[in-house]
């Protein structure tokens, strides 16, 4: 089903030349964005929220301690806040909860021999996918099936 309008306009053998204005405009805009982002002031981080987001609520088990509206979560947030105010590090506070609830309370599973398959699997699947795709593409150098006589 050949459709000239869908496939070809403008005809690929005659693309329009890129104007200098376009290049300058593009470069300038990208520069503004880059400078603006690099020099952006660091956003104040609420450590309580960051820590609470990594812990699983024991009551509303599909939500983090940050999101859960339950009383337990609220009190855990208050506890985290008071520990942050005391000067404990993020890791110390997280370890405090892990010591009492087990690794279950971490929403991001820690890297351990048991979680290695989980962490490695996405990369494995990516490689597998790329290999399968390669198999679908025409080989670069043509190997003649029939040797010329």
């Amino acid at each position: 089903m050949s459709d000239p309008l869908v496939d070809t306009e403008p005809a690929p053998d005659a693309p329009r030349p890129t104007g200098k204005v376009v290049v300058i405009l593009l470069a300038a805009a990208v520069a503004v964005v880059a400078i603006g982002l690099i020099t952006a002031p660091p956003r104040p981080e609420d450590r309580t929220k960051i820590i609470a987001a990594q812990l699983r609520c024991p009551v509303c088990q599909s939500e983090s301690v940050l999101d859960s509206p339950s009383d337990t979560a609220r009190q855990m947030r208050e506890l985290i806040a008071s520990q942050v105010a005391e000067g404990r590090t993020d890791q110390e506070i997280i370890d405090y909860f892990v010591a009492r609830y087990g690794t279950w309370i971490l929403l991001d599973p820690p890297a351990s021999p048991r979680t290695i398959p989980l962490l490695v699997a996405p990369a494995v699947i990516l490689l597998l996918g790329l290999w399968l795709i390669r198999g679908r593409l025409r080989p670069r150098r043509r190997r003649p099936a029939v040797p010329p006589s």
Binding site: P4, T8, V22, L26, D108
Partner: protein, 661 residues
């Protein structure tokens, strides 16, 4: 009485599906017997059985028949319309009845299009019959909605309060099921095609519309679910990577991949075995999702209560996959395509990249959801896999997906020369960069927001440019107005342009999500009655508390006035709903929507002396809902818009535009 009618309907469904299987196999083996009347007879019986079963369930609900166990456990006299109707699918047994009804509807739509002598169509009817037999069989045995109680209670507890809080919860399951169940059709045709050893891609082209219908409904159902979560649950979010949410997301991901790779097979004849695998996986994952939700192996706020249906669903899932895999293996010679693609840098390559990204994401979501179970089964250790894990992969993959959508949509087929690609996307690149610059200059210097906005423009721009150029070609060739020409372009290729509408939806959704995740704010404030406080740039005044008895609940709330610079913005009423049979009150947030932002307010604590309010602001929140709905709308548009008959206008346009390349 009603229960007997209902059971009769279920029983008829079982018999009808057996007959569908029998007649389907007969018609498959001997195409001369595969007439529409022959297959339609059994299918009609299935429809009757399904309608009778659902009808009986509704009659029992609306008639308050508490002698039926399902009604006694899930319904209450005080449940208002339409939630009493929706109680039919609020709990496990009823939801299977709904599944059966939707399946019967799809089976009917298949047989309506059946042409006499079509053996693959007959085979597909047989496969649908197998699936129907499973579900009606479950209804007749393990999950019987019409069990009769010896002692009839006068009233029942009613559906879970969370299911009565918002109308969207009533339509969310039917939408999801229209999606899940719809994939039975392409699956059935794929199996019939494999069983026959049919070469070519006929089954794919025949089922295109059903795949798009199912995909659109599933996406819409998921978006509505997220919208409900935002409006009702009170945490201000719409996606929690909850196991049941993930269970509905996985088949949507594979279905999206399937829709795209189907185009590659239709145009270039490659990926045949992959498409068979994808459609089988998509259907299998709809069953798997149903299993996860109902089996009790995963804890979730969505999960139905544990029942014996778990092992049965798992068994069905196993049977489907093993049987399909075996069939593919046996038909391997027919299934493998000899053709190859010319280059990865091409439209086909973009589709392949899309499939790769979506497959990785589906695998990550599946792994993350099931990994805690696997670890606990093997070692006894208990771990959790939650948002941080899923976001880590979803976010970069979405970036990649958006980029490939932008560039891939206008990439030429076969082989895309870089100069051609550049020509087609450079305009959008400039606009995207300028938009980024504007954002940065106006003070939004968050990397994710700038990047997503730029990518969204890149997704939409090249296609919009193409639409404009093609319309201009028509205008020049025909002398018609801009509007008519635009319509003409769209109608010439509804699938492409429907897809572009869906892509637009994705772009809008991505921007909405980026804004939500990066520019939202939250603060808590405690106020005594009459007191005014300042929070997130607004002045909030706690006017008064109120109480309002309703037929099925007691509503307590706080009336809060929100102002900015002295001007009243809104009066908001966050509430707590107390249902008689549930001790803890369910909080309902108050949401004030405007063009610029949502104000989201919930009550953390309400007592006579004071109220503690949680206030959130979410910029341009409605982009998320509009984007999601537009995705589904694009899917619908691609099969609703009809292609016109070719006329000699196309000749004139072709001459005008130039020769094909």
């Amino acid at each position: 009485m009603i229960a007997l009618i209902g059971k009769a309907g279920v029983f008829l469904g079982v018999l009808a599906s057996l007959e569908m299987i029998r007649r389907g196999i007969v018609g498959f083996r001997r195409p001369e017997r595969a007439s529409r009347a022959y297959l339609g007879g059994a299918t009609a019986a299935l429809v009757v059985g399904a309608v009778v079963a659902m009808g009986a369930l509704q009659a029992a609900l609306l008639g308050n028949d508490f002698s039926i166990r399902y009604i006694a456990e899930n319904h209450s006299r005080s449940t208002p319309f339409p939630f009493n109707v929706a109680t039919a699918w609020a709990a496990l047994e009823g939801s299977i009845v709904l599944w059966g009804l939707v399946l019967a509807g799809y089976a009917w739509s298949v047989v309506r299009r059946h042409r006499d002598g079509d053996d693959v169509g007959a085979g597909a009817t047989a496969v649908i019959g197998v699936v129907a037999l499973f579900f009606f069989g479950v209804m007749a045995t393990v999950a019987d909605p019409f069990q009769i109680l010896d002692v009839v209670p006068p009233d029942g507890p009613g559906p879970n309060p969370l299911l009565q809080n918002h109308i969207m919860m009533a339509i969310h399951p039917p939408l999801l099921y229209l999606g899940f169940v719809g994939f039975t059709v392409p699956f059935a045709f794929a199996i019939a095609s494999l069983a026959k050893g049919e070469p070519g891609s006929r089954w794919l082209e025949r089922t295109r519309t059903w795949s798009l219908v199912a995909w659109s409904f599933l996406g819409l159902g998921i978006v509505i679910g997220g919208w409900w979560s935002y409006e009702v649950l009170g945490w201000g979010g719409f996606w929690a990577w909850d196991p049941v949410e993930n269970a509905s997301f996985i088949p949507w991901l594979t279905a999206t991949a399937f829709i795209h790779s189907a185009v590659v097979e239709t145009r270039r004849g490659v990926l045949r075995s992959w498409n068979y695998v994808l459609v089988i996986l998509t259907f299998a994952f709809t069953i798997f999702g149903t299993f996860l939700t109902r089996s009790g192996v995963i804890g979730s706020v969505h999960a139905f209560s544990q029942s014996a249906i778990g092992p049965v669903l798992l068994g069905f899932f196993a049977v489907i996959l093993f049987a399909s895999l075996t069939l593919i293996a046996f038909r391997a010679p027919v299934v493998s395509s000899p053709s190859r693609l010319d280059s990865f840098v091409s439209r086909e390559g973009a589709f392949l990249l899309n499939n790769l990204i979506l497959s990785i994401l589906a695998a990550v979501v599946l792994l993350g959801t099931t990994y805690p179970m696997i670890v606990e089964a093997i070692s006894g250790e208990q771990i959790s896999v939650g948002r941080p894990f899923f976001d880590r992969y979803a976010i970069p993959l979405c970036y990649l997906l958006l980029a490939s959508m932008g560039v891939g949509t206008v990439a030429p087929y076969r082989k895309a020369r870089p100069i051609v690609l550049w020509d087609r996307i450079r305009g959008s690149l400039v606009v995207a960069a300028l938009a980024g610059a504007i954002l940065v200059v106006t003070g939004i210097r968050v990397g994710h927001v700038v990047a997503i906005v730029a990518l969204a423009i890149l997704v939409v721009g090249p296609a919009a440019e193409r639409l404009w150029r093609q319309a201009s070609a028509f205008m020049a060739a025909r002398g018609e107005g801009r509007g008519r020409s635009l319509l003409r372009v769209v109608r010439r290729d509804p699938r492409f342009w429907g897809g572009q509408v869906a892509h637009l939806g994705v772009a809008i959704l991505a921007v909405g999500v980026a804004l939500y995740g990066n520019l939202s704010n939250e603060a808590m404030i405690e106020l005594r009655p009459g007191e005014t406080g300042s929070v997130l740039g607004y002045e909030v005044t706690y006017l008064e508390s109120f109480q309002r008895p309703e037929p099925n609940r007691l509503v307590t709330g706080a009336r809060v006035a929100v102002s900015r610079d002295g001007d009243l913005v809104a009066v908001m009423e966050p509430r707590l709903n107390q249902y008689p049979n549930f001790q803890q009150a369910i909080g309902t947030p108050a949401v004030n929507i405007s063009f610029a932002r949502d104000i989201y307010m919930t009550i953390r604590r309400l007592d006579p002396e004071s109220v503690i309010l949680d206030v959130q602001t979410h910029p341009i929140m409605y982009l998320v809902w509009i984007g999601g709905i537009m995705m589904a709308a694009g899917g619908f548009a691609s099969f609703v818009i009809r292609k016109p008959e070719r006329d000699d206008l196309d000749e004139a346009v072709r001459d005008h535009v130039g020769s094909p390349g």
